[in-house]
């Protein structure tokens, strides 16, 4: 079996994988980081979004081998020293979640958006959440949360 190694949330991991192993499976099943969710089989819901070398990607539509040598950040990697990341805090504060299933992907997409665009308008936020589906909130509070999170991140 091929071996893969990558840094996940700052820790180096390597292991043998079947070539067909998805990055989402590697993260959840092999590393036990189950904050990355799987909500669909069609690459449309965005619950599985992680950052690979600083860019948000759908981990269910990436092979673990395609992330060989990469720097991966999952939702578990955002909080520092017991302090929620400003985007996580903004989701909590603004009631940006109900069941919470979509939230890890929403937060990871939102952090990538704000990294590229420190002060996004409501329209930009809505456009950039095209790849994240929420079946509870109606999006309104998610958009509010992302705006507040952007401020919290210093935008």
């Amino acid at each position: 079996m091929p071996t893969v190694s990558m840094s996940v949330n700052g820790k180096q991991y390597s292991g043998e994988v079947e070539a067909r192993t998805l990055l989402s499976q590697f993260i959840r099943d092999q590393l036990g980081l189950t904050g990355t969710h799987i909500g669909c089989d069609t690459s449309q819901c965005g619950a599985c979004v992680v950052h690979v070398d600083g860019r948000s990607v759908k981990s269910c539509t990436t092979l673990a081998l395609q992330a060989d040598g990469a720097d991966v950040t999952t939702i578990e990697g955002l909080a520092k020293d017991g302090q929620l990341h400003p985007m996580q805090e903004a989701f909590r504060e603004n009631h940006g979640l109900q069941c919470g299933f979509c939230t890890p992907g929403m937060v990871m997409s939102a952090v990538d958006l704000v990294n590229n665009n420190p002060n996004p308008s409501e329209e930009t936020i809505r456009e950039n959440l095209d790849g994240n589906i929420c079946r509870c909130t109606g999006y309104h509070n998610i958009v509010k949360a992302v705006k507040a999170g952007a401020q919290g991140m210093g935008g």
Binding site: A19, D41, T42, S43, R55, L63, L65, Q66, N132
Partner: protein, 265 residues
């Protein structure tokens, strides 16, 4: 998903050799079409040849009269390129409207046109702007490249290396999104090129095509009013739960008019 042998070559020659040596090999670019297809077991190649390690396939070169984009260039990088925007704004805008940010962070131009999805955006740019598709064997004119639904002129094992777009005098792309999938229900590229006005339509039919009735109507000037008397036939257009052929034919004209006004104005 069935298992496969994974290869990650470092050159075009090694990639072609790896594909040729496989029982049933497939190139892997961004994986945004191929991986969902494998997950649903609609394809089960024996070998995947990952092109992401081939530096020859990366990058954007803008010279005076053309923009050349390496096959492995991600949609997000085309969308964000100031050089592309300065030369062909319509092309950067089209790339920025593909799918969602995560799809754009991985999907590539080579993968998109090799796949030739009837509702994909890049085929409209390649055909509308009269681009040339360069492969490891030859150069293929846009008019000869897209041959049918999910079909192209590529031969078994032939690898797209880059796409060259001549800079048009004016161009604009208008997309009517399918609200669920974000693909084009109808997308129209209108371009005024050295060889005349070209109108390329995606989403409406089984394969991207040129709307000759609209090209003739716009020959005198890019403006929606020039389309008043023109019509688009619904014959052979797609019919599904999203739209009838008649509605798609109507949208082609409306989108072409908006693109003409934006390009001409």
């Amino acid at each position: 998903m069935h298992d496969f042998q994974y290869h990650k070559p470092g050159s075009v020659a090694d990639a072609a050799a790896a594909a040729a040596g496989a029982e049933d090999g497939s190139f892997l670019a961004g994986g945004q079409t191929l991986i969902p297809t494998l997950k649903q077991r609609l394809a089960a190649p024996s070998d995947l040849v990952d092109l992401s390690g081939v530096s020859e396939l990366q990058g954007i070169t803008v010279s005076g009269d053309s923009v050349t984009i390496g096959a492995m260039t991600r949609h997000a990088d085309v969308a964000a390129s100031g050089d592309v925007a300065a030369a062909i704004l319509a092309l950067a805008a089209l790339a920025g409207g593909i799918g969602d940010p995560q799809v754009r962070n991985r999907g590539t131009i080579g993968g998109s046109i090799a796949n030739n999805d009837p509702a994909a955006d890049y085929p409209a740019a390649v055909l509308g702007l009269n681009a040339t598709v360069n492969t490891n064997k030859r150069s293929i004119a846009a008019d000869d490249f897209f041959t049918g639904m999910f079909e192209t002129a590529l031969e078994e094992g032939e690898l797209i290396t880059s796409v060259s777009f001549p800079v048009p005098e004016a161009a604009n792309y208008q997309k009517f999104h399918n609200p669920a999938s974000r693909y084009a229900l109808v997308g129209v590229m209108v371009a005024k090129t050295g060889g005349g006005v070209r109108v390329a339509v995606t989403g409406a039919g089984p394969c991207v095509f040129r709307a000759s009735s609209l090209e003739q109507a716009l020959a005198g000037g890019l403006s929606s009013s020039a389309l008043d008397g023109a019509s688009v036939s619904a014959d052979g257009l797609n019919s599904d739960i999203h739209a009838t052929p008649e509605y798609r034919a109507h949208l082609v004209k409306v989108m072409a008019g908006r693109a003409a006004d934006a390009a001409g104005g």
